[in-house]
């Protein structure tokens, strides 16, 4: 049976170009990029090249790119790094309620050290209202971190407008955006976005696991989370993962060249799935904005049934999806993003999260839309909630 990956937010298949960029650095060019002798040359050049490739994707200078181990590390570096560097100026941080856990749990951890945070609400499509940012700003606000696009509902925020508010307020607060989901699929031009810091995750766009990207605007002060040597301009010590970084660079170059192509390829597939599912199954809802949305994300709630059961049946048909239901989460709580956009707990149980990638075809989309309705029917026939709803009518 064919495996259809509709869960690209979990993993994308590395591109051959990425793999070949990495290959020399496992065995042949095993040197340490910090060595002055000849063994350090090729690894150092690889890092330089990757930095230029990432900088070109972000439209920044190459010395504004810092390599980390993951998107989560980049988010932690932004939040904790800025908080520790600027705690003399203030201890207030603003985030949205739909941030990734690497942002939310980072600010929660900081409260144990006396920091405070405001988690802004979002509307039913998942948008942060820029006026709410304005009203939440305080004299002691040192950092605002709002996700570029939600990893669950795909809603793209108006980061440019929010950045202008943050910088216009005059408290000297930094603006960070978590672009771990958006980067590689929509523009992440840091000048256009007006941000001081940005996180990106190459493994989400056909790069390798084990490397993360962090943009740090010149003059932005952060304290390193890993102290040690001079690697990454002293912002992140530790011997560089040269192979992964070389791969990350290659993935950035591909992203830069293919951004428009990717969107044009994915949009019709996304549209087919959304339109067909909404029209062929009753009591199904699309979460997130219909228009201002990542081209690779789809999030449905299907009433009266539970996500893990849907996921398991689809898995049986060779289709890999994710769900925000409580049963699928390791902590048995339904998705905080769905809760934030006002989806009630029972409804959130029927959550289905699809993330598309370049290996998906229109044929996959059609196969999925044929497989789903009978699965929904089967589970609904088994559902006491469906029975109640039907008998109530």
């Amino acid at each position: 049976m064919k495996t259809i990956n509709f869960d690209h937010f979990a993993a994308t298949k590395m591109r051959p170009e990425v793999k070949s960029a990495m290959e020399p650095f496992f065995i042949e060019e095993y040197g340490n990029a910090q060595s002055i002798h000849n063994l350090g040359d090729a690894p150092r050049e690889a890092l330089d090249k990757a930095r230029v490739q990432a900088a070109s994707l972000f439209n920044c200078a190459s010395n504004e790119v810092i390599f980390t181990s993951s998107g989560s590390e980049s988010n932690n570096l932004a939040i904790k790094g800025a908080a520790f560097a600027r705690m003399a100026q203030g201890k207030h941080i603003i985030v949205s309620g739909i941030e990734h856990f690497s942002v939310l749990n980072a600010v929660k951890s900081l409260t144990k050290l006396g920091f405070e945070f405001t988690a802004l609400p979002v509307d039913k499509d998942g948008f942060v209202n820029p006026d709410d940012v304005k009203n939440a700003m305080r004299k002691d606000t040192i950092l605002v971190s709002i996700t570029h696009a939600s990893n669950e509902i795909g809603t793209i925020q108006n980061i440019k407008e929010i950045s202008e508010i943050v910088h216009g307020f005059g408290s000297g607060a930094y603006m960070h955006t978590d672009a771990n989901t958006s980067c590689g699929f929509i523009e992440t031009d840091v000048k256009e976005l007006g941000v001081d810091m940005l996180s990106a995750a190459p493994h989400r766009f056909y790069g390798p696991k084990g490397a993360g990207l962090f943009y740090l605007k010149k003059g932005t002060r952060i304290m390193p989370l890993i102290d040690g040597g001079v690697q990454e301009f002293g912002r992140r010590a530790g011997t560089e993962n040269v192979a992964a970084i070389a791969g990350a660079g290659a993935a950035c170059e591909l992203a830069k060249n293919e951004l428009n192509k990717r969107r044009e390829y994915l949009l019709p597939i996304q549209k087919h799935i959304i339109d067909t599912v909404l029209s062929s199954i009753d009591e199904v809802y699309l979460n997130g904005s219909r228009t201002n949305r990542l081209p690779n994300n789809i999030n449905f709630v299907i009433k009266y049934i539970e996500g893990e059961s849907i996921l398991m049946w689809l898995n049986n048909s060779g289709i890999m999806v994710a769900s925000g239901s409580a049963c699928t989460s390791k902590i048995l709580k339904s998705s905080h993003v769905l809760t934030a956009i006002g989806v009630d707990a029972a409804l959130a149980q029927g959550s289905l999260l699809i993330s598309l990638g370049e290996d998906n075809t229109m044929e996959d989309a059609r196969y999925f839309t044929e497989q789903l309705p009978p699965i929904v029917q089967k589970l609904r026939e088994m559902s006491p909630l469906y029975e109640e709803a039907k008998s109530g009518k």
Partner: protein
């Protein structure tokens, strides 16, 4: 999906005794406080034996499998035997469940016991028992911090 045993997968994909019994002698319905799921078990009793049993479940793979298993375990059993079926026995009959899914088996056995209680209450002329919103087990092992 390696987290579940083959038996769980079998009961999930081919659940036994799904449905409702319109003239049931006892109905047990239970909601799960941990994850918000719901299980409903119908029994038909004759000569103190569970002559027929059916279930409906809104929940995860483990919830479907444990409901299916519990109905299979009690079909044809006396009420006394059925009352003794524990959550652990259901999980064991399925060759175990991942720790995070143990609460789903609580739901299945508890719903069955409620159905028996309901039957007895009606038989004693006291009418149906009220629908129970949650099961009363401790749900441990949940981290204070959240993880994606």
């Amino acid at each position: 999906m390696p987290v579940y045993s083959e038996k769980v997968m079998d009961h999930f994909q081919h659940p036994r005794n799904v449905g409702e019994i319109t003239d049931a002698d006892g109905i047990g319905e239970l909601g799960n406080p941990t994850c918000g799921d719901i299980m409903k078990i119908y029994i038909k009793v004759k000569d103190d034996k569970i002559e027929d049993v059916k279930f409906k479940t809104f929940g995860c793979g483990a919830a479907v499998a444990t409901s299916s298993m519990v109905t299979e375990l009690v079909k044809g059993k006396t009420l006394e035997e059925a009352e003794k079926i524990s959550n652990a026995a259901v999980a064991e009959a399925l060759d175990g469940l991942p720790p995070v899914k143990m609460h789903c088996s609580n739901l299945a056995a508890d719903a069955l016991h409620l159905a028996i209680e309901d039957y007895k209450s009606v038989k004693a002329g006291k009418g149906h028992i009220a629908k129970v919103e949650t099961c009363d087990h401790e749900h441990e092992g949940l981290d204070e911090l959240e993880h994606a």
